[in-house]
């Protein structure tokens, strides 16, 4: 860039200084160089025209595309060698004997008759139509066809000129696109099926963490409810009700900290440990001790896995149920009495199960009489955000139970479920409910009223 500029200014300076002296020789030099340039161009042009002039016919015959001229009735009047080579026909076989449509496949012929020819007659030109030609050996050649009607000076149509482009590459490309699209669709179907399968597996695992149905307990009504905050996250809430074999019944409900598969694995460990421990333990506090030891042994370090649990036993005595419960850091059970009052069954001193070597679980007792119901719940209920903003508290739950009592087990669960549904999106944790009660004397089935 700089050099050019300097050169130009040098020349300008010099011509200013040496105007008179250098003018003529300078001009002479320019003339010379022009003349020599012309000579080169002329020679090249001659060379090119030599190549071109004797090849007009050759250009037609061996063009990189097929040429075809047909009469208005379709009969072939002229065809180039390229197209003959593609089709494997001799000129004599085609000229004057075949029509353009004879070269097409059946489908192509139909399309030619119904669309191509009428359009050509109407517009005088048809461009880039994809057709298939039939070669002499029966093979098919995908082509792109463009036709123009040649008219005489009086505007009368004389003949049809057609160019034929080999579209095998393009067809291959299109087929590749089609194949890729089909493959993508199939992959999506597979992914969708996998997703469905995973969903089913999650649902099955989730269900395996809960008892399939509560057992029938003579003289008692039991009801349960389980809500997962999100469909694809395995929850960590659990509950169970089972026979202890000597006429007594064991039950528990709890909440494993965390969500997802890890929490689900812990939930599984807890359920089976607690169920087995309950069979041998003297009271629920001892069962929680065993569970605590199992969790501590299994999960250590900076990945503590623990749960809150309330576990208990039911001992029928007369028409009543004597209840013993122990809590490991779990919200207290709520008692809905036949007389219309509601209160918590305090279980102080209990600690989260699985964080300390020797926790102290203290049992608490109560008696359920006809018309009484005991509700166990996980903190999804008391921690839910209500529409107003603040979280639903244990006071609010207490007050709600007060308006509900007396109520049977199923009736209590139904009312609590309705309360949960009223939270809508505010319910951002899993929630489990387990209600155990003795039907009121005036009802034999269903909840007390």
């Amino acid at each position: 860039m700089c050099g050019t500029t300097d050169g130009e200014s040098d020349r300008a300076d010099r011509s200013a200084h040496d105007k008179d002296q250098d003018q003529e020789p300078g001009r002479e030099q320019d003339k010379d160089s022009d003349a020599s340039g012309d000579d080169v161009h002329d020679a090249e042009r001659a060379q090119f025209s030599a190549l071109l002039e004797d090849s007009a016919e050759d250009l037609y015959d061996n063009a990189p595309c097929g040429y075809l001229s047909t009469l208005l009735d379709g009969r072939i009047a002229k065809v180039n060698t390229t197209l003959l080579d593609w089709l494997g026909h001799t000129r004599a076989e085609l000229v004057g004997r075949k029509r353009f449509s004879d070269l097409l496949t059946v489908g192509g012929r139909l399309y030619h008759e119904t669309h191509f020819a009428p359009l050509l007659a109407m517009q005088g030109q048809v461009s880039g139509i994809a057709l298939e030609l039939k070669a002499a050996d029966g093979s098919r050649l995908p082509v792109l066809v463009t036709s123009v009607v040649k008219t005489g000076t009086d505007g009368q149509p004389l003949l049809i000129r057609t160019t034929v482009f080999d579209a095998r590459d393009r067809r291959a490309y299109e087929q590749e696109l089609l194949r890729a699209r089909k493959e993508a669709e199939r992959a999506q179907e597979v992914a969708e099926a996998e997703r469905m399968r995973l969903h089913q597996v999650l649902a099955i695992l989730q269900n395996s963490l809960l008892p399939p149905a509560l057992p029938e307990v003579p003289g008692m009504e039991a009801a349960a409810y389980y809500h997962t905050a999100s469909a694809d996250q395995l929850g960590g809430d659990f509950y169970d009700l089972f026979a202890l074999g000597d006429g007594r019944w064991g039950f528990f409900l709890g909440d494993v900290c965390g969500k997802g598969p890890e929490a689900a694995a812990v939930t599984s460990l807890i359920r089976y440990t607690l169920r087995a421990a309950s069979l041998h333990a003297g009271d629920p506090a001892q069962a929680l001790d065993t569970l605590n030891a199992a969790l501590l042994e299994r999960y250590t370090g900076n990945d503590p896995r623990y749960c809150t649990t309330i576990a208990g036993t039911l001992t029928p005595r007369g028409g009543d149920l004597h209840v013993t419960v122990a809590s490991g850091g779990h919200p207290p059970a709520l008692l809905l009495r036949a007389d219309g009052t509601a209160h918590y069954l305090p279980t102080p001193g209990g600690m989260l199960v699985g964080i300390m070597p020797r926790p102290h679980f203290t049992p608490a007792t109560t008696v359920l009489r006809p018309g009484d119901t005991m509700l166990l719940y996980t903190d999804g209920l008391t921690e839910a955000r209500t529409a107003d903003g603040p979280r639903y508290s244990e006071e609010a739950l207490h007050a709600f139970a007060g308006t509900l009592a007396p109520a049977g087990a199923q009736q209590t669960v139904n009312a609590m479920t309705g309360l949960l549904e009223s939270f809508g999106d505010g319910l951002d944790d899993d929630t489990a409910l387990l209600a155990l009660g003795i039907p009121a004397p005036d009802t034999h089935t269903g909840g007390a009223r």
Partner: protein
């Protein structure tokens, strides 16, 4: 929901971690991260200042227990200060008042549940 805001400050006695906002499933990981960066000498104290805490769920509790385990491994201790009444009640319910030193917000009603 209130975003969790964490501030760490070194003191001669150890470190003060001030927690403001919701300590829950979404934010507990950040709390753990902040605690992991705190190095204490044996005998020092990690003070978790809950003065700005608006909510603490079970994930927050887990993070607290993990913090306690980490601090104890370093031979240090942990204390929770300015703990809102509702959180004090949850900690008592969970029995964690037996393993954490808890200083409630002065004058707050923190009667046990039941």
């Amino acid at each position: 929901m209130t975003d969790l805001h964490l501030t760490t400050q070194r003191t001669p006695a150890g470190s003060v971690l001030a927690v403001a906002g919701d300590l829950d499933h979404d934010s507990a990981g950040r709390f753990r991260g902040a605690v992991a960066l705190i190095a204490l000498q044996p005998g020092q104290l990690l003070t978790v200042d809950f003065g700005g805490l608006t909510f603490c769920d079970s994930s927050g509790i887990t993070a607290l227990i993990a913090a306690r385990n980490q601090v104890h491994e370093q031979g240090a201790d942990i204390v929770l200060t300015e703990v809102p009444a509702v959180t004090v009640r949850i900690l008592r319910l969970l029995g964690l008042d037996q393993i954490f030193r808890i200083q409630p917000v002065p004058g707050a009603d923190t009667d046990p549940v039941g």
